[in-house]
Amino acid sequence: MHWTDYLPALLEGAWVTVQLTVYSTILGSILAFVAGIGKLSPNSLLRGIAVVYIEVFRGTSLLVQLFWLYFALPIVGQVLGIDLRIPPVVAGVLALGLNIGAYGAEIVRGAIQSVHHDQHEAARALNFTPRQTLLNVTIPQAVPEMMPSFGNLAVQNLKDTALVSLISLGDMTFRAEQLRNFTQDSTTIYSMLLLMYFGMALVLTAMMRGLEHRVGRWRRAGV
């Protein structure tokens, strides 16, 4: 078979990979902000939950998390008497999002803590509530700090989506495996697969750079 014959199947998988990356990045970003801010909360219960979440998901392997959600969670449901069988796509997005969210939370926390202390005092002097300080003073300054690390995480997330092929989700890697089983033409198929991931990562990196530029605009305006 000519290498172009593999393209339709691989591109079909590529679309699944793109969707998985987008959904899990969105979920991961939300979790990163919630857990990152939660870890700095004065409420010790919230802080405890955030710390446990971050430690568990950073301390174990993504594949362990994925298999646990896909194979073990339904059994927890059985014990509790509720149906917790989740389709592979949900398990995939959940595992990827939870994992990347835990890494992102540490970035969010670091960026928030890097905002200068004087800013908090100034906000307080201006009679801002803690919520107003967080939303209007701290976060706008912290976000540009986070962007370079978030860019790395997004590429990491794209690479991690390849693991969902192991719970029979039809992403790019899964399609390549099917093609290889069918044709035994490993060299061509895996070379194409590697190049396609590389291309996607380059596009994603460029997009994240663009985003970084956008959210950092106000800084260059001359303060």
Binding site: E55, V56, R58, G59, T60, S61, L62, L63, V64, Q65, F67, W68, F71, A72, I75, V76, V79, V155, K159, D160, T161, A162, L163, S165, L166, T173, A176, E177, R180, S186, T187, Y190, S191, L193, L194, Y197, F198, A201, L202, T205
Partner: protein, 230 residues
């Protein structure tokens, strides 16, 4: 039964205790793969770092492109590539070695950056001073640069060691019997995934916490101003 050890499914606790030794054997494979993969990453990363720092662009640019490629493609795909493509060129390696090689290759892209950052952090003046003192290039390297670069490099390398440990389960796709694969096989055969997979998660947490604590100790122990010379 796995590795010749029988399990007992009469109760959840008995079951958990009976499979613990089997999981620990899997953990031993995980540790071996981590150490071997890390060693490969350290050696290859140094080679990439030297090539990337080469004065000629004919050498440094391809090296940069290659490491970028390694960094931007998934470990599992690199592993499949090595596992299925190398034999077509007559290189047949056992699954475990292929896996460790893939881990090392992927992480060499990251370690090469650590080496580069560590070496660049030693200022130009120090090299010039060494030269003024008539030190040879080799002596400059072994007595000036390396003693100062090591304390900067070690913490970052330690983080990658932990990352490699968490990526070892990927090796299960080429039949390596590491801890997650062992846990999954037990689940397949007993129809009980919850206990083995939760135990694998717990054991992973212990491994990463111990490794992180060890690295923190090492980091505190290393002198910040460079390794003292006699």
């Amino acid at each position: 039964m796995l590795f010749g050890i029988e399990w007992d499914t009469s109760g959840p606790l008995v079951f958990a205790i009976s499979i613990l030794p089997i999981l620990l054997l899997g953990m031993w494979v995980t540790i071996q793969a981590t150490v071997l993969g890390f060693a490969v990453a350290l050696v290859l990363g140094l080679i990439w770092a030297i090539l990337k720092g080469a004065p000629s662009r004919l050498i440094s640019w391809p090296a940069m492109l290659f490491t970028e490629f390694l960094r931007d493609t998934p470990l599992i795909v690199q592993l499949f590539f090595l596992y299925y493509v190398l034999p077509e060129f007559g290189i047949i390696l056992p699954a475990f070695l292929t896996g460790a090689l893939a881990l090392g290759l992927q992480y060499s892209a990251y370690t090469s950056e650590v080496y580069r950052a560590g070496l660049e952090a030693i200022s130009r003046e120090q090299r010039e001073a060494a030269r003024a003192l008539n030190l040879t290039t080799i002596r400059t390297f072994t007595h000036v640069i390396i003693p100062q670069a090591v304390p900067r490099i070690v913490p970052a390398m330690g983080n990658y060691l932990v990352s490699i440990m968490k990526d070892v389960p990927v090796l299960s796709v080429v039949t390596v019997l590491e801890m997650l694969n062992v846990g999954r096989i037990i689940g397949d055969r007993t129809f009980n995934y919850l206990i083995p997979l939760s135990m694998v998660g717990g054991l992973y947490l212990i491994m990463t916490l111990v490794a992180s604590a060890g690295l923190r100790l090492l980091d505190n122990w290393l002198p910040k101003q460079g390794i003292p010379l006699k």
